[in-house]
Symmetry: C2
């Protein structure tokens, strides 16, 4: 009843278990007739190697764990695609776990992964508890993708360059003729980088005085509320740069509810180029954070760190680009 083992295969093929092992690992120096006999036995018995036994013996799992911060906000799918492609080529499998799902259960997912003795760990986005990552990084090669924190001794960081991204968005609006531009800020290190770059860009164009910042929380609701606040000001901005697409969607709702037409009365720019922004009905101008490339490079960094665990931590920034769609245009008064 229970699954066949390598010994069953060996018995069936009339060889030793060692030879079966050799055949399955593709070693050369095995006579063709024996190789065939082994493969036939494998086929007949439906044999599948036991990953646990293998990893116990090999002392590695050929598996990397990927920690997601929240699957509800699916900006990371392309990142995973990039990651997976590169890791797969290197013979590594990818297992996912969502921190948000398990948070309320009080479980430390990184812990699950270190128990599994994964060969590496990738944290995607900013995790709620930096301690988790610090502890995990002490045990297993770790890379942070698409976040700028936590900064830890042996943990590489791969992300898009938020300074450039925010500048692209802001200069796009300035280029269209906007002067009164607001920013709805995000949270954490990434939020701060985007906000500062927005401010710096406005300053560089002599628009420091007409730059406004409202705090958001990266959710639609937060974007909506922040925009309501912005639009109730005496001096209304003619354009809003939102810290992410979700926020931007909230801003869009608030604008239309106030009777403004986007982009005629108000221009909006998001960030991340999620599939949300690509929905025809939303069609947001946004900054593409080069997710897939971030994923590929994160995988690369992880492979390097697995090969050489002691190397110094690196920060690897990918250049984002602007994706102009339907929510931006010249300001109402003609600039």
């Amino acid at each position: 009843m229970s699954a066949p083992t390598i010994r069953d295969v060996a018995a069936r093929a009339g060889v030793s278990k060692s030879l079966v092992s050799l055949v399955l690992r593709g070693a050369d120096g095995v006579r063709e007739d024996k190789r065939r006999a082994v493969l036939a036995a494998v086929e007949e018995l439906g044999y599948q190697p036991n990953a646990a036994a293998r990893s116990l013996s090999e002392r590695r799992t050929r598996t990397v764990g990927v920690l997601l911060n929240d699957m509800r906000n699916p900006w990371f799918v392309e990142l995973l695609d990039g990651l997976n492609r590169r890791l797969y080529d290197a013979g590594l499998r990818m297992l996912l776990a969502d921190g948000h799902l398990n948070r309320h259960l009080g479980e430390d997912l990184a812990h699950t992964f270190t128990e599994l003795h994964v060969d590496g760990l990738i944290a995607v986005g900013t995790l709620p508890d930096p301690g988790v990552l610090r502890r995990a990084a002490g045990r297993v090669p770790t890379v942070v993708a698409s976040a700028r924190e936590p900064v830890l001794p042996a943990v590489d960081i791969v992300a898009n360059d938020d300074v450039i991204g925010a500048r692209l968005a802001t200069e796009h609006l300035i280029g269209l003729g906007h002067r009164d531009i607001a920013h709805i800020a995000g949270q954490g290190a990434v939020g701060e980088l985007r906000r500062r770059s927005f401010e710096a860009t406005m300053r560089a164009h002599g628009l420091a005085d007409s730059a406004v910042v409202e705090q958001g929380d990266l959710t639609e609701e937060g974007g909506y509320r922040a925009t309501v606040r912005l639009l109730s000001r005496v001096h209304r901005p003619t354009a809003v740069f939102a810290a992410n697409d979700m926020t931007c969607v909230g801003a869009l709702s608030a604008a239309e509810e106030t009777g403004l037409t986007v982009p005629r009365d108000l221009s909006l720019v998001g960030y991340d180029n999620t599939y949300l922004s690509r929905l025809r009905h939303l069609w947001l101008t946004t900054v593409d954070n080069a997710s897939e490339e971030v994923g590929r490079r994160a995988a690369q960094r992880l492979l390097e760190r697995i090969a050489e665990p002691g190397r110094a931590a690196a920060v690897d920034l990918v250049t984002p680009f602007l994706e102009v769609r339907g929510t931006t245009g010249p300001p109402p008064s003609g600039g």
Copy 2:
């Protein structure tokens, strides 16, 4: 350098490895001073049990694999939540893999999971290749969640009741006074159930002649195109019931592009109650497919099947309900 093992802990605590094992598994009949010594040693060494060794010895992994069909369409997040909660209580961990990500790599993820010797497998949504599931189900207890296929001997199915859901949506529109109602159909078994129920409901209300069906493909693009076709008919429908939210968003775009105001000129109903439909800017009337409950029950079924692998396959349907939001209203001519 390498991770401490149970023997290191035993040596440090001055006891045998067996005793360490007993303490860690919470056995009683261990003297308090020894228990403390062991726990102290564990703490000092930062010992973590090796999951591979444990599962090899215990002959189970306390892990279930979850196969997702496509993370890009995140209707399943709440389902995972329900699943995870129940499985966690039963001492099982959940590992995710996305079939879509790996498809082009030609990898059989179910294979990865069976190699890992997971204790169970849950397929979420309809998987591209039914053969994958058939093979996997021969090795490990398997449950399909939120799909109606493939139907296999020892595989339970848990899903929302599409017949009821489609009827709710259709009757909602009829109740508002609509008579010319179109359906944009989905694919596979689920698509067929929804379409047939739509048709049956129309028939039951004597509206068989004014029921129209256009084929979609569950994507925004498909919904858009189908709606363009619908709206270019001589006799335009006043309401559209879309097979899922994504399709409905496409329909929304097509409607507005045609100059129609939703819901004044055209009513729209989606299906799944994804967070998309909850975005203020879309605010779709939709059928809630009770995802979380489906997840909980799927977990329950899996636990039962793990306990008793031979039991007959069951189909467990959860009752969906209507979520009325902003895209439905009375027909233009007043009904």
